[in-house]
Symmetry: C2
Subunit: 218 residues, 2 copies
């Protein structure tokens, strides 16, 4: 019993050590659950003519929001319900899932940066008003860091560059070796990883990682 | 269309480059799906008095096998069906899942090495003959490398030591920074990771990793 308590205390202390305050060398991490971006035509097809997304919550990047609306996504081996729609609308419909989700659906989406949909996976999207079969549109998002130009200067990195990021959960420290930098004055500093990457490092939103410059640019 | 074909060719070449042959510096990786080890008393409670496991397939470690039998595991937020039972029987019942599974079940298992169950998570196991509520027994397995003494000598590592392992999927290279070495003449060389770790690195069984000695032993 005493050993058990000691073990629990050690685990709690280790957990709290991970929650260190944001300092200049660290990158806040946001874990992206599976989600769907819609173009206007597809929104209207899935939800009805003239339908408009309603905001559930603001996201960390300015102007981006989680909508109240959700869809079902499906593939040859299964479906996943309650996939959150994010707003605002985009020029192309895109669904972002984890590899764990891909196995459940029986689909093989490539790892891509957002918006690069050529040759991506087909997927079915089901809404209250109808369903769509997209030839392309399903991806696994490539890990990336949003940052404004000031932070890019501080970290000495540029848009499109790849860096490594080390995270420090004491039981599952992990280093993501290929993380893309995205610089825009519209961005807040935040690294985005998916739920597989998060769970592999025992990471939750609000944890931080350390940016490590690649020895040679890839 | 041409760009799409080019993109697909690039992805296929990158995929094949990952499948390099096993060389001396590399560790074969086995991905462990969720599974359950049973002690005799629990096997009989779940499957019936005098019940014996039947072999479905041998596993990579000598004497270990996947049984035809499966169980359902459950927690306060959900259940997971068809969880494979592994044989032979053990002295304690133990269920190993991923963090993704833990979230689905609504449970918080610690990351542990196999057999270290003190203060681990409760879990319900359901079989055809009855169900068990275990106060302890649910863990997320700590990444580890099984190796015979000859390989330990080659790699210059010892039982219980922690090392890092780098994997090289071109889209998702990742470094596991805390991997435990387990040495026994009964073992074959193989690194075991769970499905979250595998998916975070786009790794499937048969891929390899490179062992990297820790700079200072932890």
């Amino acid at each position: 019993m005493k050993e058990e308590i000691t073990q629990r205390i050690i685990e709690e202390v280790l957990r709290r050590l991970q929650q260190k305050p944001h300092d200049e060398a660290s990158i806040p991490i946001g874990v992206s659950g599976r989600h769907c971006h819609l173009k206007e035509k597809d929104l209207e097809f899935l939800f009805g003519t003239g339908y408009q997304l309603t905001k559930k919550a603001d996201l960390s990047q300015p102007g981006q929001f989680a909508a109240n609306e959700t869809v079902i996504i499906a593939g040859p081996k299964g479906s996943i319900e309650r996939v959150r729609v994010l707003g605002p609308l985009r020029s192309e419909t895109q669904v972002e899932i984890s590899q764990t989700d891909a196995i459940k659906l029986g689909l093989k989406p490539p790892i891509r940066e957002s918006g690069n949909l050529k040759g991506s996976s087909p997927v079915t999207i089901i809404g209250p008003n109808g369903s769509l079969f997209l030839e392309n549109g399903l991806i696994i998002a490539h890990a990336h860091i949003h940052m404004p130009p000031e932070d890019a200067a501080t970290f000495n990195v540029e848009d499109g560059e790849y860096v490594a990021v080390q995270t420090d959960n004491p039981m599952r420290p992990i280093r993501f070796e290929r993380v893309q930098i995205r610089v825009s004055p519209k961005y807040n500093l935040e690294m985005h990883i998916d739920t597989d990457e998060a769970n592999a490092g025992f990471i939750v939103s609000g944890h931080t990682g350390r940016l490590v410059k690649a020895e040679g640019k890839r």
